[in-house]
């Protein structure tokens, strides 16, 4: 890590001590054991953070946020990941919270933000639709004004965490305009309203945290709209930049790389010995470490200065591909131990395969799930299109 100022180092020590002493140990234990966390685990984790005033990351102090500098936030993220603490579920805290704080009405701020901090409400992000993925602006989900209400109709898909969520924020078309980016509004709805149906989607890693959500004439008050009508594209773009940088997860990459070495010391290698001595594995490991060093330096450079859209896109690609490479190293290390496909909900999940440790089955599920990193939040191809748009000037 690049040099920290003395007060930054002091902050780092404070955060480290917090995770060691004041954070729910059972959450850390489960994470370390590769057991899936329940909603209650996340609530416990968030309560602990909130008690310390450390949950509202990216929020201004005035609404209960941390008011951290980008570097402080980076230090916090890194320590959280080093500690094997639960990742903050981003939808409410990281994605919509700052938007409510910046563009929401006083009433929205007073009602929604405290509920998020106190873990009374979990949120989901309703952007994607079956026909609007990479081409998000072509969305069809409609909000039609009817007196003081909007009537919502349409389908949202790939909604992460919808099964735990109480609210959803949706991009909705409120009028047809020439440019398809216009006429889109940001409208929120409680998920238990009549006319909303949530269908879980099972993924290739065995998880089912995503959902398809159907809205059939769902009525919400106009006061559930955040900001001005038709301006959601602007708000979403403000949000997207934070979303893209939030994929950095340098701490968990370092942690996962360290974990690979630890596991390698337990796995048999060719011709006796263990895999931590295997030259092919060590070289591959070092290659990722070198790459990660450059990525971390890039993130720190970005955090200390202004981030252009192209930089954010480039870093999104670098960070997500690096995370995928680490999971790939994991399945390569696991070898045949990557074969068992296990449910990881109970504490003794690994007992199903007495001849194989928990590492391989967990590694293969990470590998499969992390294939999505280069798809969501703007796919790699779409990021490259963005970067090219800013380079294209040089070609003329």
């Amino acid at each position: 890590m690049l040099k920290l100022a003395p007060e930054e180092t002091a902050f780092q020590n404070e955060v480290r001590a917090f995770f060691a002493h004041d954070y729910p140990a059972h959450v850390i234990a489960k994470n370390k054991a590769g057991q899936r966390l329940t909603k209650e685990d996340h609530v416990d984790a968030q309560h602990a953070l909130n008690a310390r005033g450390w949950l509202g990351v990216g929020w201004p102090r005035a609404v209960g946020g941390t008011g951290w500098t980008p570097i402080e936030r980076y230090i916090f993220d890194q320590e959280l990941e080093f500690a094997h603490a639960a990742g903050i579920i981003p939808m409410a805290v990281i994605y919509i919270g700052p938007i409510i704080a910046a563009f929401g009405s006083e009433r929205q701020k007073a009602e929604w933000l405290p509920a998020i901090l106190e873990s009374r409400s979990f949120w989901a992000q309703g952007y994607s639709e079956p026909e609007a993925g990479s081409d998000l602006a072509s969305l069809r989900f409609s909000a039609v004004r009817d007196g003081d209400d909007y009537i919502l109709n349409g389908t949202k898909i790939w909604t992460s965490g919808a099964l735990w969520a109480d609210w959803i924020f949706c991009l909705a078309r409120t009028s047809r305009e020439e440019r398809k980016q216009q006429g889109i509004s940001l409208i929120c709805a409680p998920l238990d309203l009549p006319g909303i149906r949530v269908h879980p989607i099972r993924l290739i890693d065995g998880s089912d945290e995503l959902a398809r959500i159907e809205f059939d004439n769902v009525r919400v008050p106009v006061t559930n709209r955040i900001g001005d009508e038709g301006q959601a594209w602007h708000y979403a773009n403000v949000l997207l930049k934070t979303e893209r940088l939030s994929y950095a997860h340098i701490g968990s990459k370092k942690r996962d790389l360290a974990k690979l070495l630890e596991e390698a010391a337990k796995l048999p290698a060719r011709s006796g010995g263990t895999m931590d001595r295997d030259p092919a594995f060590r070289l591959a490991h070092a290659r990722v470490e070198a790459r990660l060093a450059a990525i971390e330096a890039s993130i720190l450079r970005a955090l200390r200065g202004e981030v252009s859209m192209a930089t954010a896109a480039a870093l999104k690609i670098a960070c997500t591909e690096c995370a995928q490479t680490i999971t790939e190293l994991g399945i390569d290390l696991a070898g045949r131990h990557r074969l068992p496909m296990l449910e990881r909900d109970s504490a003794d999940w690994a007992a199903a395969t007495p001849a194989v440790g928990p590492f391989g089955p967990a590694a293969v599920q990470s590998y499969l799930f992390e294939r999505a990193q280069t798809i969501y939040g703007g796919s790699t191809e779409v990021q490259k299109n963005i970067i090219w748009r800013s380079l294209a000037g040089m070609a003329r």
Binding site: V364, R371, K384
Partner: protein, 338 residues
Amino acid sequence: MSAALSEAEQAMLHDAVRAFLVKEGAPRWPDFADRLRIGAALVDAQQGSIIAEEIGRARAHLPFAEVATAAWLLDHCGATALPADKVATLAWAEPGLRYDFAGIETRARRDGDGWRLDGTKAVVGWAPKADIILVAARTGDEGVSLFQVDSARTEGLRPSPYRTIDGHPAADLIFENHSLAADALIGPEGTAIDLLEEARDRALALLAAEAVGLLDSLLEQTIAYTGQRRQFGQPIAGFQALQHRMVDMYLECELARSSAWLAVEALGESPADRARAVSCAMVNVARACRSVGQQAIQLHGGMGMTDELAIGHYVKRAMAIEVLWADADWHLARIVGL
């Protein structure tokens, strides 16, 4: 070995297996083995590779490579042949070894006329459905021998069944003082390692062929999907970035096909030549499995991540093929002679 098939006979076998798998959807082993009369193909690598390729294309859950490997071992040891409708599998892997048979620690010791078996076998494919399990075990200090275990006799055998990522049944097997009759030993005592090496190369040739069908299908499904999926007002197959990725997939598929051919052809060669050729082939097959699989998911976007779509299941079978018998690093080391 039976006489080589003519081109026309090969095409007929392809068609017959393909038609059967399309019609049956979820075929069961006895029907598959009986109706297609695959008896000879179990020990003939050329016929076997045709069947394996079609199994790959259909991603059929069939223990073909497992049964063929066991059948060949029984045949080679002069043991009673396996009835074609029975499922047999070989248990070689253990928690304490990576891929080298020399690391086998499961032990068989003499007990009167028979034997006693102790040890742990890891991720034995199709063990829960197998009638017969061939177990590789150390006898004496030096040698490894092969034993035929009747899976119905559970005393001293603790199986932990589960599914693998490709949805196939598998189990860890713990043997504790499991007793075997004298005739459980197949082949000469203490000399099974060379035999196992040859069996592995035969199994790999079949898996390479399976990969050919599997990867072809992944490419076809991806081309079809990107041709029909519209974003930004056009089919996404219209984007050159995606076209080139599919071209890369095609290249890997072509090399995998040649690799499978190379592996099958090498089976009759001397052990050293055979090992080298099969390992060269498998390095390429592993690479193709990895990259074609990753591209297929990426090009399907969110759809590629769902359990509902076939893509993910094909990818997971490809991931299994990469490591069932050895991984690319092991093959590279074998080529280099390390």
